[in-house]
Amino acid sequence: MRVEQLQQQLGECFNSSSDANVQAAAQTTNQYTEMFKAGQLQKNEYIQLLSDMHNTNIINKSAENQQVMENINLAIGELISLAMLAG
């Protein structure tokens, strides 16, 4: 597959997804590819930056999971307060 085809697929991914993280990833990948083509990045640097996207995805998921847990924790705390008030 040619780089241009890959970029086109990423563009489609960017347009079709409503997930902010997917959109950001597609945009970033495209940016890296343009920089690589312009000679601003070496091949191994380009590969490493693409691999880093997997790592940032793990970090994003961790933040999302934590937010869910915090919301549940807050709800439980409020329920306990309500239960104590109800006697």
Binding site: N44, L49, N55, I58, S62, Q66, E70, I76
Partner: protein, 132 residues
């Protein structure tokens, strides 16, 4: 009140509720380490034009992200953050390794430190938002 409890029980599985209730509490040391990494990356990204300084910065931040992993490793019920800490460490080790092997382009250096900075910012929010 009972309706609320029933609704919560129906909506969430038992394990999720227990996990949330017992979630890891705020740890000021963990928060301090990640704040340091964020500040360091923010400063280092402006020094990428100097290869010597950047090499030092990359080595230093890789030690700090490793410290962050080691500190978080044995905190109970901390799997979620530990996975993210390891991912952050991978990003930083990659930069340090690159400096060991060959000449690093300023654009790559800047992107790597920016990625570390934004990732550390997210993790800082995760740790800071934990129950106290």
């Amino acid at each position: 009140m009972k309706k609320l409890l029933v609704a919560l029980t129906v909506l969430l599985s038992g394990c999720t509720v227990v996990d949330a209730y017992l979630m890891t509490k705020y740890d000021p040391n963990e928060y301090q380490i990640i704040t340091g990494i964020r500040a360091e990356a923010g400063h280092a990204k402006t020094q990428c034009d100097s290869a010597l300084t950047s090499r030092y910065n990359a080595t230093k931040i890789s030690y700090d992200t490793q410290t962050f992993v080691l500190y978080s490793e044995h905190i109970p019920r901390n799997d979620n953050l530990l996975a993210a800490a390891k991912a952050l460490d991978n990003i930083a080790q990659g930069l340090a390794d690159q400096y060991k092997q060959e000449k690093v382009s300023p654009a790559f250096c800047k992107i790597k430190f920016e990625t570390i900075e934004t990732s550390a910012d997210k993790l800082q929010k995760v740790i800071g938002g934990r129950p106290r």
